[in-house]
Symmetry: C2
Subunit: 302 residues, 2 copies
Amino acid sequence: MQDSFLNSNFDLSHYLNNKRDITALALRKVIKTYFSDTRLSSAMQYSLMASGKRLRPVLCMAAAETVGEINDDVISTACAIEMIHTYSLIHDDLPPMDDDKLRRGKPTCHIQYDEATAILSGDALLTLAFEILSNPPSLKNAVTQLQVIKAIARAAGHNGMIEGQMRDIEAETIPASLDELKKIHHLKTGALIEASVISGALLAGGTTQAVKQLKIYAGNIGLAFQVIDDILNVEGDADKMGKATGTDVSRNKSTYPGLLGMEKSRQFATELSNNALHALDIFGNKAVPLSALAEYIIQRER
Amino acid sequence: MQDSFLNSNFDLSHYLNNKRDITALALRKVIKTYFSDTRLSSAMQYSLMASGKRLRPVLCMAAAETVGEINDDVISTACAIEMIHTYSLIHDDLPPMDDDKLRRGKPTCHIQYDEATAILSGDALLTLAFEILSNPPSLKNAVTQLQVIKAIARAAGHNGMIEGQMRDIEAETIPASLDELKKIHHLKTGALIEASVISGALLAGGTTQAVKQLKIYAGNIGLAFQVIDDILNVEGDADKMGKATGTDVSRNKSTYPGLLGMEKSRQFATELSNNALHALDIFGNKAVPLSALAEYIIQRER
């Protein structure tokens, strides 16, 4: 057990930096191992190495530490999930979808390169994620590895993240109700966040009960994350966010602030965060990082 | 061993119909199991069930029969590969890429639906392929399953099929040499055809030597397939092809007929087919279907 786990003055900022460093190092290794000297690889790298929050890799590793230890499989799975997240951003930013020109403070992939390259580099990041998830096949972990691949594919697929994006686009013409909005966000953001946490726990040897509790945790923080995203889209600082704000209103999109008002939206996010914390009770001190992450998610400014 | 394997009058047409029926049945089961009542699922189904040649599933199953027997894993893998092939067609047809309006005799996905839906349904078919490839994890086959996932992801990824499409687009502005053209086609078509054959062989228990020979076979027929595609684009019947012909010339694309002339292109295809047949020598009568498929590929009219 690391010192920080027992320390009531847990330093989240240090923890986040450490996990982001591990992610960056592992992603650079992926780039060195798999990428070529091509325009396609260049576009993949451009989007993958933009300064994202790395929330999913951090959650994957934190879940692993809650039930066991971070191992190589956890780290490479964390990278694969970040690739899937990155591909989804590249495709969502395309002109036929959200038509965004700025992402993480930089021109979006189709602006920096071109639309064809952006579509293909998204496809390629998604595919590379599965190449990495299936590598290396060691007899001992093969069954768990397949479980993890399946969980991630389900979460990222047409009954998960992709359906969320589809409904998000449709909600621009037919405004969504509060229940529909929760469903959209569960699909679009929650499902992959859940898969990140579950994968980390499975690969670190978590029990069925532990994985179940972590899934509840993840479902709640996933939704809280999106509520805060909506709030930041209204009142956030575009410079801090690294992307345009005020876009939801101009697109006529249903949002939590739009449906509930700003104050109730903040209350809702806090309630979700509390549900998440409650689900961690069984883990005691081991869950200090995940608890701190739940609080970070509702207090973030970008 | 089936009768047809020993019969010198092997009926390829019957064989193709049988394997296509198996594929169609399995794909319908996939649709029933995984698809929802959504616009996204509808678009996925629209493209997946268009009347394709099902060449990759047929090759996957034929490779399995060459070294062993077709089992459930072979069939579901054949379906997953067809989904990957279908996603690649949907994305290649998009306006920023080939901008094709007709495919398999029907409006392309983005014409029938819209661009956003086409991008997302391609993404979803690719993702679903990996969900299916990781399901069900049985202890006995888990390691082979991971090997197959890896082989398919590599073939479909940024060092395989996607790089092929990228170079194919680039070759519209800078005409490719013959060597470059072979490389493009190996990446764009050959890699996934190789993976189809290798996967079928691995899942049916093929030896390393058998897989090696089948890879040589597949590399040659993959290229032959593309040479014939180019020839048909010049002199083919658009009705039989189910897509526009003459498009390569109008796009200024490097093609085998353009670089070698029509007669030498046909000779080249025949030579490749003969190389493929030679690689099957070690399998004797067991390889009758694969041999017939090699001949079919260079004689096809669509």
